[in-house]
Subunit: 570 residues, 2 copies
């Protein structure tokens, strides 16, 4: 820092593509802080280090950084400002360094507008030992029977909206979606490292050429995509002049913006591809329903195993292995995220995940939370169920029932088009708020199609400034996952994926409503019916009936019998 | 226009203070177009005139301008742009004139940013004959027993936030609030024409000096307020240089902005006074509760008269006169807006109000909607009740019950601080949306204290871009007024005013909830209990019990008997 004239250095959990989940190569923050969560920011001064983490990671960050001299800044608690506000308030006259490829243009520009002195410099790579190399695995193509639209059709749609502008894309999901290609660079998300520049006439893809088969290479060329090397991107940017450039400053890194920002006119707006990608087409929707049947079959097998095993023999990690196997040995080609299995108090940590070395042993009592999902060629799944492992007390039943009701409150909503997720969120929270309880996270997130399990911008969350201005559209897929988290006691979450659909259209406008995609029973052993109104009981029974109808053709007799019992009317 | 080098002239319905309701003196648009509505914009070219009006006024504007050569531009119908967009699209190379005192700075600056050529010039005053003069009535003071804070205390609070800046205020409600003064310049809103400039050391009030008694004049001087003449404001602005000026471009007129904008640095932000004004202090809250008891007594007397009269003898206008008298002959010093009384299909027009010449006659059947309010020295009220005038059919009872439930759904909300009105709105709408019905207006608006019945920025409405980013705060007073409006059939609305209060504070944060301020029974003849859940029945019964307890000490035996019956448990 000193040699480079830097007083403060900023490290986050991102890669060169402002990704949420990143290749091992980019686990810089973990390397330097030992914090293994998926989101965090580290601010290092000459005599101090601050780690900023959200509600999911308050406890985990404390534990993991205990042996380092790092102060954990718990976002969401009183008086703790986000990292950018912290820099603005405390580092006004200091020289701030960061790797401009690993932070969004929006982040740096915000700081610069506040008068902060920012320098893009990589101070860590030279001291980052045993760094995992980038993937060299070959890419693969998703056919039209999975995507609904060919690469050429997708590119034509984008070009029609381009109006002579040049569109620069860093976002890996958008690139994979547009080109109908997938890779394995990032755990759980089948994307590959690449950049894209779309002109009205030409499309340039920047990717490690050796990872393309001849067939894919020729196919790209045939569809008008010129392939250049991954490392040729920044030199290429320097040649762009006097263009009207369309980019999303939240989704391109600062170095990308800086390379073109001064010689061209910039239109800041959400990528055209992102908008298209979040509205699933009819083929994708049909496939998604099938993926959720496959996922339901895997989950029912897992549930049968869990509910009928002697829990004294099992650890959380055994459960994690089992649920993963149920998916991977059936139809999934990958998991969609690192499976969360939390027994009793461990489930109060929202993103706790057991490892071979660190896990709790189970008993034939208490509750276990399992949040898991799969990648299928037909779609991406994400589901949470909480199970009783034996007798549970009345308090747990009360809260499970409230959480289940909260999930249905949102799932049953019918609302006018134009509403955003921030305006729907209260439906899932109000029964908990009535009792003075909250969950410190969003209610739901968008879900990609054979892509990231967290797909922005659709989301359902209450915060004013967190992108919740996205109006829900027919074709969006969302998670609906309210919960309660009592530190040191237990955690409960119920999560289904919902498809947003057109409902009635009349003189008041177009109404939208949801369809349950997830097809897995809720554990009836945890329900106390006195806390459910008639409407929710009817919804639950109808849902369970549908689960049985859809899954039973895929199950053997034993499994079917189990499912029949698990989906009985209450 | 020709002499002044103007190709297009713009006239609107505002005064010099960007007010919603204006003194007669400013009815320029009515004078030149014969359109009498409260909101409209006239654009005059050498050979054409366009009048822009919203949905409320489509029919009325056609009728009133029939004898003039004016094209009515019906906002909200397909292809009709708002006046500002019209100017941007059609008048790019023309010279546009307008009275810069009668339009907001934000309006003109938006046009200027689009490259339009705007000149502030008053072309109408010299040809405006028989213009109603401005009020000469004396102003009066509200004592601390009504305001909770002295003028001096309020000024000190503002000065503490000023940080050396100069704050320019055009908004009449803010000036009246800060100075604890009231006037009668505008119908229904007790404000007076004035401007204010607050420096760290001095406060300048620009007002017609002859309207101040010696006592008030001395009091102002004693509190550090220097009084200058109303007309001295613009010459004074020209003397301001090298200051950091705080102003709200939506709430100051363009001439104000133009006079200071180039010689000073401008901080655009909501007025500090507005923020303070919308958070009612403990004295204001105590008084507001009392004002609502007075209002409730007046409304119960009205309700008793209405429910026990032979309706065949009455017109809507008779009802309007009666409800107004019930208030004005008891404790109110004025009404808070023009009373709305709509019988059956007339109530489907949201802003319908009967006149001596135009009104429907009533029958002993059907329903009547009465939306009315009063100005009391203790507070400002606004209430809607819908009453059965005889037998009503099952459909009407269904919708009344749904609307009532919707009102309670919002009123019973408990929610975390930080939530804005747009995020609460769905609670009042969801039961109607479930049936594919909407009301095409907000759910609620802020209410001033002995000031305007519509107080911005607090509001509860679903639209994304309509100021709903204001987070609700303890001390805000809101209306809660869902409804159904079936054109040609009937309209139903239930409206109570709610006080936002601090509820429990715990590890999740500060919860807020509401208290009913309005204390008037809902007509039990319109309720079909099968559409209410147990919780809402309990809320309604508890509310009615409270209404009886609070109002009965103020009533005579007959009235008390009526109220007892009207507030019986269901």
């Amino acid at each position: 820092m000193y040699e480079n004239g830097i007083d403060v250095y900023f490290i986050n959990t991102s890669d060169y593509h402002v990704s949420e989940y990143v290749p091992e190569y980019f686990r810089t923050l973990y390397y330097f802080s030992n914090f293994s969560g998926s989101l965090g920011q580290l601010i290092i001064t000459f005599d101090h280090a601050y780690l900023f983490v959200d509600g999911r990671y308050h406890t985990q960050a404390e534990k993991e950084t205990a042996e380092q001299e790092i102060e954990v800044m718990k976002l969401g608690t009183e008086g703790v400002l986000p990292a950018d506000e912290f820099l603005i308030n405390n580092c006004r006259d200091l020289r701030i360094g960061l790797d401009g490829k690993c932070v969004s243009a929006a982040f740096v520009r915000k700081l610069q507008k506040k008068g902060l002195n920012i320098k893009s410099v990589d101070l860590y790579s030279s001291i980052y030992e045993d760094r995992t190399p980038l993937s060299k695995d070959m890419l693969y193509e998703l056919g039209v029977k999975y995507t609904g639209l060919s690469r050429k059709e997708k590119i034509e749609i984008i070009k029609k909206c381009l109006g002579g502008r040049c569109h620069i894309v860093n976002n890996l999901e958008s690139i994979a979606y547009l080109l109908n290609l997938r890779g394995n660079d990032v755990p759980y998300t089948p994307v590959f490292l690449a950049y894209l520049v779309i002109y009205q006439n030409d499309v340039y893809l920047f990717v490690d050429k050796e990872r393309l088969s001849d067939v894919i290479f020729e196919g790209l060329l045939h569809d008008g995509v010129i392939v250049k090397d991954y490392n040729a991107f920044y030199p290429f940017l320097k040649t762009i002049r006097h263009e009207l450039i369309l980019l999303d400053e939240e989704k391109v890194n600062y170095d990308t913006y800086a390379a073109v920002g001064f010689k061209n006119k910039i239109h800041h707006m959400m990528s055209l591809i992102e908008d298209m990608k979040t509205i699933k087409n009819q083929v994708e929707i049909k496939n998604a329903r099938l993926a959720h049947i496959y996922d339901g079959v895997a989950m029912v097998r897992f549930m049968k195993w869990l509910k009928t095993s002697d829990k004294e023999e099992l650890s959380e990690y055994d459960v994690k292995i089992k649920v993963n196997r149920c998916r991977l040995e059936y139809k999934a080609f990958d998991l969609s995220f690192n499976t969360i299995v939390g027994y009793n108090e461990n489930a109060a940590m929202m993103h706790y995940s057991p490892t071979p070395d660190k896990h709790a042993m189970l008993k034939n009592e208490g509750i276990i939370l399992v949040d898991s999902g799969g990648q299928y060629f037909e779609g991406t799944t994400d589901i949470t169920r909480t199970f009783a492992l034996g007798k549970v007390n009345a308090e747990i039943k009360l809260y499970f029932t409230l959480v289940l009701k909260s999930m249905f409150n949102l799932a049953q909503a019918k609302f006018l088009k134009g509403l955003n997720g921030g305006q729907l969120d209260i439906l899932a929270r109000k029964d908990l708020w009535d009792r003075g309880i909250d969950y410190r996270c969003g209610t739901g997130h968008g879900v990609g199609h054979v892509l990231a399990v967290h797909e922005m911008p659709p989301n359902i969350r209450p915060a004013i400034n967190s992108g919740s201005s996205y109006a829900l559209k027919a074709g969006n897929i969302f998670s609906d996952e309210p919960g309660v988290y009592f530190e040191g006691k237990y955690g409960i979450r119920c999560e289904n994926l919902l498809l947003c659909k057109n409902d009635v259209k009349n003189e008041y406008g177009q109404f939208l409503s949801f369809e349950h995609l997830t097809m897995v029973p809720f554990d009836l052993d945890l329900i106390d019916k006195q806390y459910l109104d008639e409407k929710t009981v009817a919804c639950l029974n109808a849902y369970h009936q549908e689960v049985y109808t859809r899954l039973s053709p895929y199950l053997d007799d034993e499994e079917r019998k189990f499912l029949k019992q698990a989906t009985r009317s209450i």
